[in-house]
Structure formats: C-alpha cells, structure tokens
C-alpha cells in the first residue's frame, strides 16, 4: 500500500508551503517515514512541481477540484493551510493533520480555529520555516481524535424552547 501525503492550500495560494514541502529536507523526511506519494493542491499558486521533482516520491499536482474529500480519504497524512474549512474537513475524516501557518497572514481570524484545535491536541502546527524539522520529528500519537459536533443537542434545545415537544 502506497502511503500518501496530501497538501492543500485552499481557495487562494500559498507558494511558500509548496516550496517548503518539496524541499530536499522535507522530501527526505517524508521518504524516511515511508511515504511514497505526494499530492499537491496548489490553488492559484505559481509553483507547479513536476511529477519527478522529488526523489523517492511520485508527485501529483492540481489546482482545484469541486471536492477534495476523495483526496483527503486516500491520504495518510494531510498538510494544510490554516483555513477553517480545510482543517474541519480533514479532521472530519479522522486524518492526521499538520497545519502550516502563513506568517504573512497573522491577523487572519481563520488562524484562531487552527490555533485552538492545536491547543486542544487535535492537530499539529508549524510554519514553513520549521516544516522540514517538524516532518522529521512529529508524533501524531499524542493527538486526541476530533469528535463530530452534536447538532442533535441544538435540535433538542430548539424543540423545547419553541414548544414542539
């Protein structure tokens, strides 16, 4: 079975992440961990790595898909930008998630959620400059599974206050 890493930058671009994850050190760390396939969703980015640009890994690159759910399901490790949608989708299918923050977007409120999920031990967190080191040393066994939300509690509450019960 080929172990797959899926990298997603969401709806914008994050060339620095694509550059870091295809760097020599990062690729070496991934190969050492037994990964053999790298799938990159690059959005509007300018960097489009070739299939043979990372020794030891087969690389597949695409810009956008209607849904990245299939890619997430096939992945063993997800490396994502800090967007709330991408984080929740990856955790929703119970994948090991490493979030790479974009230092240039520090005031972006979307970072709030990734930071919070990190403090609650649902994902790992690093920046582009520490990505290669993180890939070499990370330990997902410390993480706690992210349980789905409970909309039925909302429904029960509404039934009561609206007089439907």
């Amino acid at each position: 079975m080929m172990k797959t890493v899926f990298v997603t930058v969401g709806s914008t671009r994050f060339d620095e992440l694509i550059e870091s994850v295809t760097s020599e050190e990062a690729v070496e760390a991934l190969v050492k961990r037994g990964y053999s396939r790298l799938v990159l969703q690059v959005g509007h980015g300018l960097l489009l790595p070739c299939p043979d640009s990372c020794p030891g890994l087969t690389v597949k690159t695409f810009r956008f898909k209607n849904s990245i759910l299939d890619e997430l399901r096939q992945a063993d490790l997800v490396i994502s930008h800090a967007g709330a949608g991408s984080c929740l989708e990856a955790l929703g299918v119970q994948k090991s998630l490493l979030v790479v923050i974009n230092d240039r977007l520090m005031d972006n409120h979307q970072l709030e959620l990734a930071w919070k999920l990190n403090t609650e031990n649902h994902l790992l967190y690093c920046s582009c400059s520490t990505l290669a080191m993180t890939l070499a040393t990370m330990d997902f066994s410390v993480l706690i599974p992210f349980l789905p939300g409970q909309p039925q509690n909302f429904a029960k509450f509404m039934d009561t206050v609206l007089g439907l019960d």
Binding site: A84, G85, L88, H109, Q110, E112, L113, W115, K116, G149, Q150, P151, Q152, N153, F154, A155, F157, M158, D159, V161, L162, G163, L164, D165
Partner: protein
C-alpha cells in the same frame, strides 16, 4: 414655527412608541412558542461556502416539524443553491422548501462605509421578503446577508404583525471573538449560540451546548 414644533413632538412620540415596542418585543421572546401550533416555519439564511455547510448541518438535525423552510441567499453566491437542492432531496421525508435571493450586504474585505450602503440596499429587498414569508424563526450563522433579514423580522414584531424569533449560531471558526454579524445581532437575537467556552464567558447571554456543527 408652531407647525415645526408639532412635527418634532410627533416624531419624538413615534420614536418613543417604537422604542418601547422594540423593548417589549425583545423582552418577550421566551414567551413565544410557535411550536405549539404543530409546526415552525423557518427562514434559513445561507451564506457562501463554510457558512452554508454549517447551517445545513443544523437544519439536518431539525425534525420535519420545521416546515416550510425558506432559504435566502446572496445573489452573488453560486454554490449554495446547488448544495441546498442536494440537501433537501437527500432528506427522507420530502417537504416544502423555497429558495430566495437578495443582494449581498457585504463582501469579504469590503470597506465599512460601502458596507453600510450595500446593507441599506439589501434591506430594501429583505424587508418585503420577510413580510411576505412571515416565518416563525429566522435561523442564521453569520454571513452579512443575515443582518438585514433579522432587521426585517424584528420590524414585524415591532409593528405588531408577528413575533419572529431570531436564532443565531456563531460559526465554529469564531473562537476568541464574535463575527461582525454576531456582534450586531447579539443584543437582539432571542437565542444566540456560541461553540466555544471562552466566547460564552465573554458573552453571558449566549448559549453554549458544546460543538453543534
């Protein structure tokens, strides 16, 4: 001169009456139990992307008694309509639902001053729509579009036509602070949900039931 004073006094009187009505309407929300008649008509405000996904998860949890369901979305939103159709056709029991479009009140990163103008423009469309649909409940979770629709719902109450309950669920993305729509609607929403404990501490009127999406 006397006429001017008369007009001014009249305006003050109308203003005071409206303010008192507004105050009374806001206070009696918990007495309003539209479910007692057997069903609750729902106006669901869909935003773009993540907002729509979250609100559909909430609607999915609600029973068939929440019917009919009227979805309102911003007219620049291409994705949501398809998602709503997919969602409604996947429900086991089919029921009445309608989809309506209004001008978007605020694009992401739009400036404050132009937001005010586009919100007023959206209000022109929202008020007649809410008056026509007369929902029991407006359910929303933060896209800018929900502000004029909630204003329409409140106006129905102030004018004594119908008490429309406003249910606001802050997005799970908001951990430390409320969104702009959340801040605007916190004082007037009948049921205001947050999904993180620290927000509950900052906003004591809010309801925290853990993560609900």
């Amino acid at each position: 001169m006397h006429a001017l004073w008369g007009i001014l006094a009249g305006l003050c009187l109308v203003g005071t009456v409206l303010f008192l009505r507004f105050y009374i309407v806001l206070r009696n929300g918990s007495d309003c139990k539209p479910g007692r008649k057997g069903c609750v008509s729902l106006l669901v405000v869909a935003g773009s992307g993540g907002h729509t996904a979250e609100i559909l998860r909430l609607v999915a949890s609600l029973s068939q008694s929440y019917s009919p369901r009227h979805y309102v979305l911003a007219d620049t939103d291409r994705m949501s309509e398809e998602k709503i159709h997919t969602f409604e056709s996947s429900r086991e029991e089919k029921s009445v639902f309608t989809i309506h479009r209004i001008p978007r009140s605020r694009e992401v990163r739009q400036s404050w001053s132009s937001s005010v103008i586009s919100t007023l423009y959206a209000l022109l469309y929202s008020i007649p729509l809410v008056f026509r649909l007369r929902p029991d409940v407006v359910l929303c979770n933060g896209p800018g579009t929900c502000v004029p629709l909630c204003a329409g719902g409140l106006l129905l109450g102030v004018l004594g036509v119908k008490r429309v309950l406003i249910v606001y669920v802050e997005s799970i993305c908001r951990v430390e602070s409320l969104s702009l729509s959340g801040k605007l609607l916190y004082p007037v929403a009948d049921y205001f949900f947050v999904q993180w404990e620290n927000l509950k501490a900052k906003y004591p009127r809010s309801i925290y039931l853990g993560r609900i999406v």
